[in-house]
């Protein structure tokens, strides 16, 4: 039970902190830098992104594992649009001004790279429970980053919070531009990185973004793109017979398990037998020693009796000799 709990906590830590999708993997940046300029907009964006990521990840885990990757990418977009429309209508009804301010970014959330990355890297190759943990932790951390950046930009850029005036002496309206979003993202990532370095010294968030190929040539041929393993999202490839192999692995495990159990049983029996025999041996030794003690005491008694008898007979012989004299 505690092992399961620690596994879940480890998954949350990795998805939400160590491999934070926006801050360390540079995924789903567009809505954060462009539209997270106020708390209200940030709430809309974070709700939409969380709902989309969770629902699409769960659907791809439960239903799209056998669908080919090239079709899955289009299905994510279709699902994204289908989830967006009802959310868009709800927000438009209850917060029309804020929804209008978010602009075209609400429909664009349907093709957010965060969804494609997490579905391809995690959902299609893991169990529903593991996928749920990943979707919740990644979605929540993404929403958290949007909210924090939205609050900072609204307070510093507009001098308000949730549209309430804060009467600040200085307003830096440049922060409401996309470059302000990039700037805050950079400092936020640095703060989180230094916290991780202190709290988890063995973890390296910089590994989430590889610099190893940056010096390669920019010029590539169209044929190379088709033949090479170009992989900007660093997904590991699922083999064609992934499900078959997984099932075979499971079966092998099932077969192996009783064998191992049998072996363990035999070993246990052997151990018990050894234990038993050793116990018997000990008890035998004890009883032998006891017996030896008994025999020696008996022998000593007999010896004592004999010596007594000898002494008596000697005395008798002495009396007889005296009478004869």
């Amino acid at each position: 039970m505690s092992d399961k709990k620690s596994k879940v906590l480890d998954g949350i830590k990795t998805s939400a902190i160590i491999k934070n999708p926006v801050l360390f993997e540079a995924i789903g940046i567009a809505p954060v830098v462009a539209m997270a300029i106020s708390l209200k907009a940030a709430i809309i964006l974070s709700v939409v992104s969380f709902a989309e990521l969770f629902i699409i990840e769960m659907i791809s885990c439960l239903m799209l594992k056998k669908v080919k990757g090239r079709y899955r990418m289009a299905i994510y977009a279709v699902l994204g649009v289908m989830i967006n429309i009802p959310l868009f209508m709800v927000f438009k009804r209850f917060a029309p001004n804020e929804t209008a301010n978010v602009g075209i970014f609400l429909p664009l959330m349907a093709v957010n790279s965060l969804i494609a990355l997490h579905c391809e890297r995690f959902a299609v190759r893991n169990s529903p429970s593991e996928t749920a943990v990943d979707a919740i932790s990644a979605g929540a951390s993404y929403a958290f980053v949007i909210l924090i950046i939205g609050i900072i930009r609204e307070v510093v850029g507009s001098g308000t919070l949730y549209s309430f005036k804060l009467h600040l002496p200085v307003q830096l309206s440049g922060l409401l531009m996309p470059f302000g979003g990039f700037l805050i993202l950079g400092f936020f990532a640095a703060i989180l990185k230094s916290i991780i370095a202190k709290k988890y010294p063995d973890e390296h968030p910089e590994d989430a973004f590889s610099f190893s190929e940056i010096s390669e040539s920019h010029i590539g041929k169209i044929k190379n793109l088709m033949d090479s393993d170009f992989n900007p999202y660093d997904e590991t490839e699922i083999p064609e017979n992934y499900d078959e192999e997984k099932q075979r692995h499971k079966k092998e495990k099932k077969i192996k398990l009783p064998e191992i159990a049998k072996e363990e049983k035999i070993n246990g029996k052997k151990k018990k037998a050894i234990k038993k025999s050793s116990k018997v041996k000990v008890s035998q030794a004890v009883s032998l020693e006891k017996k030896r003690d008994d025999y020696s005491s008996e022998f000593n008694d007999i010896l004592a009796e004999l010596s007594e008898h000898k002494a008596q007979s000697d005395e008798k012989d002495g009396d007889g000799d005296d009478n004869n004299q």
Partner: protein, 197 residues
């Protein structure tokens, strides 16, 4: 002549001044990640340019139908997404038939089709009431803007990677974000304002 000048001016504006990646943040994730792996920049940019141009033109053409033109943002977003998905499947079919490439590499096409940059172009055309010539220019310009963004970020990354004096906490993505922020600031300075949609 007017058509060509319109097309070129729309393309140049989208590429240099209204660079969607720096002034709007569209496709920023793809640009940053592509800058770290520039090996396939040219072909990937070609695909992005192809998707943005074709989707842009078809959406502007559809927008000339009065019923669609007068519909609201939700209907427009459904139509734009549907056009992108159909174009993606048609391209997939042609690539599969004529190039006979491996399944795993075809999947990468999805990255160049389904991103915020490609889907943002028809929305911008709709807002700016572009005609088909402008739409072609905007589509090509967006693809070229992506190339410029990737090259600029990549040249910066090469220097950031060799720079030993960067504080430990800022190494990696924090430094990249701040570098992109400076580039973004420069492009915003050229236009005088950010991209408002």
């Amino acid at each position: 002549m007017t058509i060509i000048s319109n097309l070129l001016s729309a393309a140049l504006y989208a590429m240099l001044f209204q660079n969607l990646i720096f002034t709007g943040g569209f496709g920023a994730s793809e640009a940053v990640r592509m800058a770290a792996k520039p090996k396939q920049l040219v072909p990937m940019s070609l695909f992005i340019t192809y998707f943005s141009t074709v989707v842009s033109v078809i959406c502007v053409w559809l927008d000339q139908i009065p019923e669609i033109r007068l519909s609201d943002k939700i209907i427009h977003s459904i139509i734009f997404a549907a056009v992108l998905i159909i174009i993606y499947f048609i391209t997939l079919f042609f690539i599969k038939v004529f190039f006979k490439v491996k399944d795993r590499t075809i999947r990468r096409l999805g990255i160049s089709a389904f991103n915020t940059l490609v889907l943002a172009v028809p929305f911008i055309n709709y807002r700016a009431a572009f005609n088909i010539t402008d739409a072609i220019g905007a589509g090509i310009g967006s693809g070229l803007a992506f190339v410029i963004a990737v090259l600029l970020i990549n040249f910066g990354l090469r220097r950031l990677d060799k720079n030993e004096s960067i504080p430990e906490a800022f190494k990696g993505t924090p430094a990249i974000f701040i570098y992109v922020a400076i580039l973004s600031m420069a492009f915003t300075g050229i236009t005088g304002r950010g991209l408002t949609l």
